[in-house]
């Protein structure tokens, strides 16, 4: 009968060493809300489980360079209680807190949500919009990568053998900048996103958009950064025309599938609807910042 090892190292180096040694047979465990379900349904059968929750760095939330460093294993419930982070990047925190139930929030992490590799992960489009980067530790040291570069295909990431996402850097928020995330699910809770849209906009004193980022989830094999959608906003005063262009660009960027959660047509249309609505919220926030 197959045997499983469980290890709970206290340092990143130990965790990386163990993950590098076991390669594909190892899985890091943070909140376990994806990993344990996949093990139970026998989708995966890891031989080594590396619990990263005994590593202080992965559980920390700290200020850094005017922004925040958030450990990859910090649960949603903890980040949601951090008023400073909520005030700076409400869209990112809202997206994180949309994952699953209150119970899931007690465990689920940003690192897990990203590295699970689901195109529909809620926190990913929001982090993409906010320009979040992640710090990755590996056998050859550490590197920093934008969130949009992590997921390459459903269930697959650009992480190399032994690499572990250690933390996320939420950059300092520029003046008059606001972010927002909206997703569509059939119920009010407990579903996987059918469409997810993160939008971040920066305005000048006169209310003209000087910068924007738009992230899309669940509409393509991986979460997307959509420059064309951002371009539809930059230089405008976010008038109806700009919003319509945003919606069209967001829809145009979709490359979805028909599945049990929604049709292609539906996803393409609703991506535009939510982009417009999220941009509305983000710009309200930008104006009050």
């Amino acid at each position: 009968m197959r045997s499983i090892q469980y290890e709970a190292p206290a340092t990143v180096d130990e965790a990386v060493a163990r993950l590098a040694e076991a390669g594909d047979k190892a899985r890091p465990l943070a909140g376990g809300t994806d990993l344990i379900v996949q093990m139970r349904s026998r989708l995966i059968s890891p031989e080594v489980i590396v619990d990263v929750k005994n590593i202080p760095e992965l559980l920390q939330v700290s200020e850094e360079g005017g922004g925040f460093r958030v450990g990859a294993a910090v649960p949603g419930a903890v980040l949601g209680e951090n008023e400073a982070v909520v005030a700076m990047w409400p869209g990112v925190v809202e997206a994180f807190e949309l994952i699953g139930s209150t119970q899931i929030q007690g465990r689920a992490s940003l690192g897990g949500n990203l590295c699970n590799g689901s195109p529909a992960a809620d926190s990913t489009p929001a982090m993409i919009a906010a320009g979040v980067t992640c710090e990755i530790a590996g056998p050859n040291g550490r590197r920093e990568a934008p969130v949009e570069d992590l997921v390459t295909a459903p269930g697959e990431t650009s992480l190399g053998r032994g690499e572990l996402v250690v933390s996320f850097f939420l950059p300092p928020r520029p003046a008059r900048t606001g972010d927002a995330y909206l997703r569509f699910i059939p119920r009010t809770e407990m579903d996987i996103a059918v469409v997810g849209v993160g939008v971040c906009v920066t305005l000048d004193d006169g209310g003209t958009c000087t910068g924007a980022r738009v992230g899309l989830g669940a509409v393509a094999p991986r979460p997307l950064l959509v420059p064309a959608a951002a371009d539809a906003l930059v230089g405008t005063r976010l008038d109806d025309g700009a919003m319509a262009n945003l919606a069209a660009a967001a829809s145009a960027a979709c490359n979805p599938i028909d599945d049990k959660r929604g049709t292609k047509t539906y996803r393409i249309k609703v991506a535009g609807v939510l982009a417009r609505r999220a941009a509305g919220i983000a710009s309200e926030r930008a104006r009050s910042n």
């Binding site: 499983i4 469980y6 709970a8 376990g32 344990i36 379900v37 093990m39 139930s101 119970q103």
Partner: protein, 159 residues
């Protein structure tokens, strides 16, 4: 496959058990410790019937490994009443007929207590969203929400 030895605290008491690495906390509570009040409705974190507190956080015990309980504190439905004194939520669930079949009830109670411990005066909407991870197929939630509201009023009056 060698079992792991786990030392933990359950409902304030020190407990030890042996478990497989891939055994969930729910299975360990039920099968190793005989605490069958936590129920398995789905095994995937979608129904909340296995809700427990782990180091003061509400979690699904079907989505935690038993080995993760090492050195930590677990609270289950069995620890909710204070001796023969029911928690106000347990009492209001009975008074308001907030259970029909009762299989989801332990999970709802643990989750609702976690809510009132952090927010003594939640709105109806807050109660509904907080409890969205607990499925009840019998009641349509109406009487559950009312029972939580009533317990909140009583607990505020006592505080």
């Amino acid at each position: 496959m060698a079992k792991r030895h786990v030392t933990t605290t359950v409902n304030g008491e020190p407990r030890e058990f042996l478990c497989e690495v891939d055994q969930t906390l729910l299975d360990a509570l039920r099968d190793e410790l005989g605490l069958t009040g936590s129920k398995e409705g789905c095994g995937s974190g979608d129904c909340g019937a296995c809700s427990v507190m782990l180091d003061g956080r509400l979690v699904c015990s079907c989505l935690a490994l038993a080995v993760e309980a090492e050195g930590r504190e677990v609270e289950t439905i069995e620890g909710m009443a204070d001796g023969d004194r029911l928690h106000p939520l347990q009492r209001t669930f009975l008074e308001e007929a907030a259970l029909q079949c009762g299989i989801c009830t332990p999970g709802f109670l643990v989750a609702a207590k976690a809510l009132l411990d952090r927010d003594p005066d939640p709105s109806e909407t807050e109660i509904r969203y907080w409890l969205a991870g607990n499925l009840c197929r019998c009641t349509g939630y109406d009487k559950i929400v009312r029972a939580v509201q009533k317990a909140a009023v009583e607990m505020r009056a006592e505080a």
